[in-house]
Symmetry: C2
Subunit: 254 residues, 2 copies
C-alpha cells in the first residue's frame, strides 16, 4: 500500500514505523518544519515535504496524525487537488466529519505514544471508521496487517471510548501523582509503591475492576475512611477527591 503520513509527532512516528515494518510503502512524510519531516522520512527512504502542494496525488491512503487543534485546517489544505483520495485521521476525540474529504475515515490506535519509545502494534487496539463502504476493506487490510485487535466504531461511540480512556489512563496516573505527593511530604520515595501498582494492574487482566476492588471504602471501614479524611485536612484538593472516590466505591457496591 502507498501511504502518505501527515504529521511527525509521537503518534505519527510510531504509526509510520509500524506501517513500514509490515511492508507498506511510506512515500512521503509531511510536517510543518523540514527537520521533523526529514528526521522521520529518512527512516523509510520517504520524501520529506513541508509544502502541501508537493504532496503526491496518487497515494492509496493519506493518514493525518496532527494535533486536534490543527487537524481541520491541515485537512482542508491537503484536500485541495486530491478530491478523489482517501483521508483518515488518528484522533480518538475528533469526529470523522472534521475531514472535508468525500472519502474519509478514522484510524485510531488507542495507546499513549512517545517518539523515544517505538512500540509493537500487534497488541494495540485500532478503532476504524469510514464514510464510504467501498473503503472498508482497504482500511481494514492496513489495520489487520498491524494489529490483532481491530474494531469498527462510529464517531459518537468513539467519543465515549476516549472518555473511558481518560478515566483508565489519565485519572489513574493522577491517583499515582497524588500518592506521590503524600509520600513526598513524609520523605518516602515513590518507588516503594511500584510493586503494589503493578499488582493492581495485573489483577485487572484476570478480574473485572469491580471485583478487583479492595481497600477501606470497598469494605466500608468508616473508621479508616474518617481517619484518612482527617489526615488530609491540610489539603482540601486531596480531601475532596478522597471523599468522592470513597463514596463512589461504596455506591458501586450497593
Amino acid at each position: 500500500m502507498n501511504v502518505v503520513i501527515i504529521g511527525a509527532g509521537n503518534l505519527a512516528t510510531n504509526l509510520a514505523y509500524a506501517i513500514h515494518s509490515k511492508g507498506h510503502n511510506i512515500r512521503q512524510v509531511y510536517s510543518r518544519t523540514y527537520e521533523s519531516a526529514y528526521m522521520l522520512a529518512k527512516c523509510f527512504d520517504a520524501e520529506p515535504v513541508i509544502e502541501t502542494e508537493r504532496i503526491i496525488t496518487d497515494a492509496d491512503i493519506y493518514i493525518l496524525s496532527v494535533s486536534d487543534k490543527a487537524l481541520a485546517e491541515v485537512a482542508s489544505k491537503i484536500y485541495i487537488g486530491r478530491e478523489d483520495c482517501l483521508f483518515v485521521h488518528t484522533a480518538g476525540s475528533m469526529p470523522m466529519d472534521v475531514l472535508p474529504a468525500q472519502r474519509r475515515g478514522v484510524f485510531y490506535p488507542m495507546q499513549s505514544f512517545s517518539k523515544q519509545r517505538i512500540v509493537d502494534f500487534s497488541d494495540i487496539p485500532i478503532f476504524l471508521e469510514v464514510s464510504d463502504s467501498k473503503d472498508k476493506s482497504l482500511v481494514a487490510d492496513l489495520a489487520n496487517s498491524m494489529s490483532d485487535k481491530v474494531y469498527w466504531l462510529s464517531s459518537s461511540e468513539r467519543q465515549f471510548l476516549h472518555l473511558a480512556a481518560v478515566f483508565a489512563s489519565n485519572f489513574s496516573n493522577h491517583c499515582y501523582r497524588l500518592s506521590e505527593k503524600i509520600l513526598q511530604e513524609h520523605g518516602i520515595p515513590f518507588d516503594v509503591m511500584l510493586p503494589l501498582i503493578d499488582e493492581v494492574t495485573q489483577k485487572v487482566h484476570v478480574l473485572p475492576p469491580k471485583d478487583a476492588q479492595t481497600g477501606p471504602a470497598s469494605r466500608q471501614d468508616n473508621n479508616v475512611i474518617n481517619k484518612h479524611i482527617q489526615m488530609l485536612s491540610g489539603n482540601p484538593d486531596l480531601q475532596n477527591i478522597y471523599e468522592l472516590m470513597s463514596k463512589s466505591i461504596i455506591h458501586d457496591k450497593l
Copy 2:
C-alpha cells in the same frame, strides 16, 4: 528462627510461605477455625492451633496477621503467659500500640495479597517498627532474609504510607472501574483498555507520575473537558469525579 503465625488469611498465607522458603521454622499456625489453621499449617509441618493456651511460649517471634478489627482482642489474649515474647503485627493502617506487649513491633509487607496467588517477596517493600531497640536486629534479619526492600517507619509515618497506597491502588482501580462502566454502556469490552493501562503503569517505572501525566486536563484542553462533562450529564457521580480530577491535574501544573 522459630516463628508462630497468628492468622491464616491472605497476608498470613503469603507471609508464611515466604518465611518458610527462607529456612525459618514455622512452629504453629493459629486460627479461629481448625480447618483454616490446618490447611496452612500442613504446608510447613507446623502444628495447627485454635486455642490460644496451646500456643508455644518459646518462639522467637509471634506474627499477628488478622483483620484490623480482631487485632487488639487477639493480641491481648495471646499476650497472657507470654509477657517476655516479641509480638509484631502486619497491618499497615494500625499503630504499633495496638499490641499490649512490652516487646512489640510492626512487620508490614505492602502488597495486595490473595491466598490463590503466592507471590515472591523479594520485590515487596517491608516496613518495620519495634518498641525495644534490642529487637531491631532480629526483626531486620527476618525481613532482610525475605526482601531486598526493607525500611524502618514509625506508626505515624506508616499511616501516611497507607493513605498514599489507597490513592495509588484502590483509587486507581476505581478509575478502571469507572472506565469499565462507560464502556459497558456502549457495548465495548473492557479488555481494549488493557494495553493503555499497562503502558501508563510501565511509564511510572521510568518517569515520576507528575511528568508522566497526559490527557485533556494536562494540556488544559477546555473544549474536550467541557464536552466530556456534558457527556457525563446522566451520571452525576462520574461527572463530579471527572471535574474534580481535571481541576486537580490543572492545579498541579501551575
